[in-house]
Symmetry: C2
Amino acid sequence: MIKNAFYAQSGGVTAVINASACGVIETARKYPQQIGEMYAGHNGIIGALTEDLIDTSQESDQTIAALRNTPGGAFGSCRYKLKGLTENKAEYEHLIEVFKAHNIGYFFYNGGGDSQDTAYKVSQVGDQLGYPIICIGIPKTIDNDLAVTDNCPGFGSVAKYVALSTQEAALDVASMALTSTKVFILEVMGRHAGWIAAAGGLGKKNPKDSPHIILFPEIPFQPEQFFKKIDDCVKNCGYCMIVASEGVRNDKGEFLSATSKHDSFGHVQLGGLAPVIANMVQEKLGYKYHWAVADYLQRSARHIASQTDVEQAYEVGKAAVEFAIKGENAIMPTIVRTSNNPYRWEIGKTPLKNVANIEKKFPLTFITPDGFGITEKARTYLLPLIYGEDYPPYKDGLPDYAQLKRIFVPKKLNKLFIVSV
Amino acid sequence: MIKNAFYAQSGGVTAVINASACGVIETARKYPQQIGEMYAGHNGIIGALTEDLIDTSQESDQTIAALRNTPGGAFGSCRYKLKGLTENKAEYEHLIEVFKAHNIGYFFYNGGGDSQDTAYKVSQVGDQLGYPIICIGIPKTIDNDLAVTDNCPGFGSVAKYVALSTQEAALDVASMALTSTKVFILEVMGRHAGWIAAAGGLGKKNPKDSPHIILFPEIPFQPEQFFKKIDDCVKNCGYCMIVASEGVRNDKGEFLSATSKHDSFGHVQLGGLAPVIANMVQEKLGYKYHWAVADYLQRSARHIASQTDVEQAYEVGKAAVEFAIKGENAIMPTIVRTSNNPYRWEIGKTPLKNVANIEKKFPLTFITPDGFGITEKARTYLLPLIYGEDYPPYKDGLPDYAQLKRIFVPKKLNKLFIVSV
């Protein structure tokens, strides 16, 4: 009997996670003898638990194709991590019950390290609970911190946005600096790793070019060197452009940013580092400043997505389905770089256990000795990831993003399962 | 004897002010019998006072053409307003001395209301000091607050950026809202008028669409209605998307934002409204929030400039030169809307005295009765201004922006003129 498939988006969404969804659904449609219906979880794994399954077969080929161009998570995503089997067996039993009820034999889970852990657990408990299910993880995270894969879909587009915004804002600041703003701070994402902040340096070709300072989470904040460097830049270049990761910490390991709330995974929720630094600059040096916090704008900026990123996001989705059909299980497609110049890559694979909950660190060899810039090694790695533009179609001046009908599969279980969110 | 020309950029720069520069220079190059050299002031009018003149004839046709695609102010801009003739006669006398020394007979000044006032004053004092000079203002301001002209070059591109960023971030927030951020605040520019904030509403087609709330400087902040509306949105739509102008004030007329520094024109410098509002939301409603402050990113975002805006910016530059050659004086080219649907426009003109220091107000008929949205009238006016995309060329994943040689004209006056900035 042909099995149906379940696909879900997990964790923070990106400009290209829907391109992976597009790759999954378009590919599954090519194999009707192997995969029956493709159901998408509404709000990620929660949709499986609450039996809220979106029937993707109700969406036209045109709409599915348009997913490739659409940011956000078209089926809804969630920050919700399945606990271990011993801690919460009922949750897994219910999940398997839903899969049984809807004849689901494939589980495609599109997310970061936490999500690959979930996919790994599902692959284990399926066997343990007597309902074997093929589990394939699909990599996604702007944080670029998944292990094994050369890079993560979602990162390249944020990198491009940050590199380009830094360059554009610098042209603005440079042209006004004589009588106006002399110090500009762009706060970017990257809670624990400097991948995104590093991308801000890609537009720099000469020592006097912007950005003059990058603040990495990996380098404890050095106030004296920082203020001296700003002052030198203003005196020598007329202005100072700073890209700061939200995750910058002082030498005690405390976040410099003002707020320290927690998200539902217990991670510290950051934001508001730029005004903190701006105030310090004002007090210490007295220079006129401006600051920007890109926040979600950077990870939803599909309008300027990296073509490389879009292609890779699509291909890992496509490969996930192809691997599943070939009988592979408990793996994640990876991106393998085969050449830097010209940049070439291909799809590989790795067991989920190799990526579940493992965080790839930002290499310290990517940071210049003064702690404020990126090395050639970093540039060689990062630059190809922002290659190419992949513009969405426009209508009346705005991107014409996919709009799904979101028709739900009739529920089969007469059961209320409460997920506390 | 053929006279040379002086061109300068003034005030806050935009994504398209260089497109106007391109229009000025390319057009002047077509009339070598009427206009000799085209000199650009380094850092605006200050460059004229300090005799720092960039010789645009040293730049290739290709570089000048690339200005059309380049944000920021390629020759440097300034916030520096000439005082009245009676207050600072020496400054005008010196200006005229520089013009005489370099045989400058045309004065093209590219800026907002303050700059049109400067152009107007120069047109008057030239006569009074016995050195008649043709003065043409070229409109530019993201604030869209110049009188007479239907709209201002620079505004349409910010409007497009804000409309599109609102739409993209909303897709992100909507897909995560169940377990993550429920309230998102995007702070945009617009010190005194709601033009830019209003543009945030252009992606909204249905009542439940984002943005759910726009905060205008024209509407005193109404905390009770605001929090009720947020709560209703979260309950009915799952999330609440807010576009807030930096210029929002309370019912005493005080800015809500944290800082209240002053720029060199004595205007209050804003920034940081979004975190203030986010904190209020957190305290009052307890919803998880995120916020972004676009700041200079919005006005330098040439990568997603409005095609309409780029064309208009170019055409007002071109028209300025054509008017000058025809002997027009003390005028500013304007944009005249001749049809809404299809959108059609043409170039008109108005005496500088009609635009000098006059601020066009944002019409209250553009705001819905509840004070939180835009009307159809607003949409009809705003939408055509974001029509079309005009992508810059890319190289290695980043825009290939113009790089000028900036060769200075040898100084002829043996005089040090100190401009206090």
